[in-house]
Amino acid sequence: MRGLRKRFIDIARQEEVIALDGIDLDIGDDEFLTILGPSGCGKTTLLNIIASFEKATGGEVLLDGETVRKPGPDRGVVFQEYALFPWLTVQQNIEFGLRERRIPRAERREYVQRQIASVGLSGFEQRYPHELSGGMRQRVALARVLVNNPKILLMDEPFAALDAQTRSMMQQELLGVWSAERRTAIFITHNIEEAVLLGDRVVVMTARPGRIKEIVAIDLPRPRDVTSTEFNQTRRRIGALLEDEVQAAFAAMRAETTSMQ
């Protein structure tokens, strides 16, 4: 990513808002990068630009040296709201991308079966999304992109809607899948523990306009123990970095509310 910039016009207030400003970021092959920032810092905007759901006002996103222009299965996205197709069964949801890309039926079935087994959905193939729990739905969403063998996995707070226990279980499973079939991943979160637990590096963002405040490499061996001293030292350090930004975001929000009154 080079010099990414995103501006848009706040229609209600008739003024320009800079959501992202000068984001420069290189992600290594098979790296797990977590992006951490206060709400409203443009994390999701950044992810949407990488996925090509939104266009950047300036700069470009390069994937293996090529500028990305359109959304595609090389950048699989897992949304916080699951975004499963409610009229399709688990199997059909996972098969969707392969079918749209006209992969022959027999091959399709084989990939889908293997993917279903690897995310622990065996026995649920014929269920509809509304019959599944949040954790199960997010597994389907993950399987749905992994089956397309994406170059990069983009996750936008995928576990934010889950309860603490399911969340922790899903984090472990995600790490399991990621270490089994190594893959570049960008994971957005506002949860410090989650960022430190998952990431090879943690990108801490500033409050609006979103810039990169600091990139922290997490050198802790995996599997990481969230109760260890080293883990908590890192967590505290990143927490302190983030705290300033949360304060700044909060102050900005207060100023905005006051000026509106």
Partner: protein, 278 residues
Amino acid sequence: MTAVPVAAGAASLNAARIVAGAHLALRRIAGPAIVLVLWHLASTQGWVDPRFVPSPVTVLHALQEWMFGPKGASPYSGTWFAHAGNSAYRVIVGFLMAAAAGVIIGSLIGWFRFVSDLVDPVIQVLRPIPITAWVPFAVIFFGIRDGSAFFLIALGAFFPIVVNTAAGVAGAPQLLVRAARMLGIRPYMLLPRVVLPAAMPFIFTGLRLGIGLAWVLVIVAEMMAVKSGLGFAMWDAYYFLRLDIIIAAMLSVGALGFLSDLIIRLIGRRFLRWSRGL
């Protein structure tokens, strides 16, 4: 669901279900039964003139003769199936035309901004005009024949279908469209594979409103522009003051309308299995 103690066996569970089912059936039958009793009393106790409000028993006899009586025994005897068949045929043809046009045009309006800007204002202006106002044009262009009825029914049923389809398509969740694009869908497949399925609940609402209107309009068409069918029988019976036949025809339309709505609901239930609460 009925609350049943955990320890209860299958037998008492079944018993509880039967009791609950019987209660439900009783509640649903009670309303129509009360209406029937009041109607009967009104007619037989002289609360109203029985020549103008024939009792349910009279109506039932009239309907029986109309349906199963020997042909020629009286002007109506044995002609019910021909009339009902004519009406049903017109409803089906008109409704299918409306459904095809409504779903196709509605999808285009909901999906393409350009089509919406062009076509939607026309539809919004035509929509409030009562379909009866079109009767003279129907008769001039299609004559006193089935064509007039098809036209009036198709036109009337078209509006709720097109409006609901357009709303459903335009309101298809952006998130699902993004998900499909990210999974590599070819852009022209978005409409059939994502947007239309997402709009299905709306489309079925439109179809149900449409079939209801189709039965209203077939009667209008047959009273004014065609010389057969239940609507024609009603109008004809009015000239001879056979109010029992009119009520029998009303009940027939009610039953057939209910039946056709039920069929659409059953088809919808199959299509919308994924959608809770429909």
